[in-house]
Symmetry: C2
Subunit: 249 residues, 2 copies
């Protein structure tokens, strides 16, 4: 642990990919904090007061100041606790812009498609969501290939193939890895339920390797929710959606 930060509290929900991002960032930076699990059916007074605009988790409260929205929180952690652990965003302005571009892509394109694929009420919408999610993952695979190639053009890396960087952040997991990594528990649960591979090792070898590398990091293992518990939750949610769709028909 790089250190405890006084008066740092995270309001979360164990199954939320957005909360997981914050837990991943704090874990990777080695920052300790108090965690409070919210019951989103009965939100706490503290949550409602801390995020009056959206009433949503995650909220990170630092010295009484609430920070909301997972991507905003990640950047806050990087800027407020710069001394602790590795930097999440690179130092170079252009590399920061590239990381923020992929963060926005995951948030606006991949997450939307995955949600449509998982939680739509009609089969047609699900199929379309799946198609868009696969297209988005192929785009990320190409991005990872470029990052990997970029590193290999460096003569030092060329002479050591094993030093090839497996992360979006290069040597270590950074901002983009954490944002994509927040989705990993849900992806593993969906894979277990449907018996499919989200990151096909043949068509998406770099993403498949990324998921294995990232998922095996001690800092990641320490905060990943239990996949079997997620499967249970997802099955309940799917049953509810099916019941609602049947009632609507």
């Amino acid at each position: 642990m790089a250190g405890a930060v006084d008066d740092l509290k995270l309001l979360g929900a164990w199954y939320s990919p957005y909360v997981l991002r914050v837990r991943l960032a704090l874990s990777i930076k080695g920052i300790s904090y108090e965690y409070a699990e919210e019951d989103l059916q009965h939100k706490s007074e503290l949550l409602l007061r801390s995020n009056p605009v959206h009433n949503k988790v995650p909220v990170l409260i630092h010295g009484g100041n609430p920070v909301c929205e997972s991507l905003v929180i990640l950047q806050y952690i990087d800027e407020a606790f710069g001394g602790a652990g590795p930097a999440l965003l690179p130092a170079d302005p252009y590399e920061r812009a590239v990381a923020r571009f992929w963060a926005a892509f995951i948030e606006d394109t991949l997450v939307k498609a995955m949600n449509q694929a998982s939680w739509s009420k009609t089969e047609g919408e699900k199929v379309e969501g799946n198609k868009q999610a696969t297209a988005a993952l192929n785009t990320l695979e190409a991005a990872l290939r470029d990052i990997s190639k970029g590193k290999c053009q460096d003569p030092d890396s060329m002479s050591h193939r094993s030093s090839r960087k497996p992360f979006f952040g290069g040597d270590s997991a950074g901002y983009v890895d954490i944002i994509l990594g927040g989705l990993l528990a849900g992806v593993r649960a969906m894979e277990a339920m449907l018996g499919v591979k989200a990151f096909d090792p043949v068509t998406m070898p770099l993403l498949a390797a990324w998921a294995d590398h990232f998922g095996a990091l001690d800092e990641v293992v320490a905060v990943m929710p239990d996949v079997s518990r997620l499967v249970e939750l997802f099955m309940t949610m799917h049953a509810q959606i099916a019941a609602e769709a049947a009632t609507a028909n």
Copy 2:
């Protein structure tokens, strides 16, 4: 002008609120650049090559490196050209987080509602969009009130009511002002077309004053598109939507 930057080119479209944000930021920071108007019906090879994922404007190309997505570009401008003009984001990590929160709110909540209100095909969707846009503007009005109050709790400001800060960025227009300000030309055109006030001076006095202050800045006037030309464009677009809706019926 704080200065010319070598090899800086913006690919844009004169009517795009996202492009306007970038022009506002560069104008406020006093950075000169080459502007290239794109015909989005016939996109240039340079645009397609520079933004292969989205094929959209704005793209800022600096020293051959393309930066895409307006919010990413604004942060790039702030970080890469830190020496030029005023900083767009505050220095304090918590104030930066607050600015990023409102930026995300404008992007995810206000812009979506405004688009629904303006470009939906059915009257019901338009009414719902209008309702949501008004709610979002009321939330921004409250945010501006808090910012204004916060400043007035400072004894120096209390003694000089005229020194009350009218911008989201406080003393000068910053990140949030630019993101909201990018919408201002479109808002003025809609007001002219519909004969309504988007920022009601009675219910939204601070936003109405903000729009007047921001719109009157020299750096803003210099890059604002012509409202009557926008009205013409919007009327053509509305006629097309109406024709499509009539055909669909």
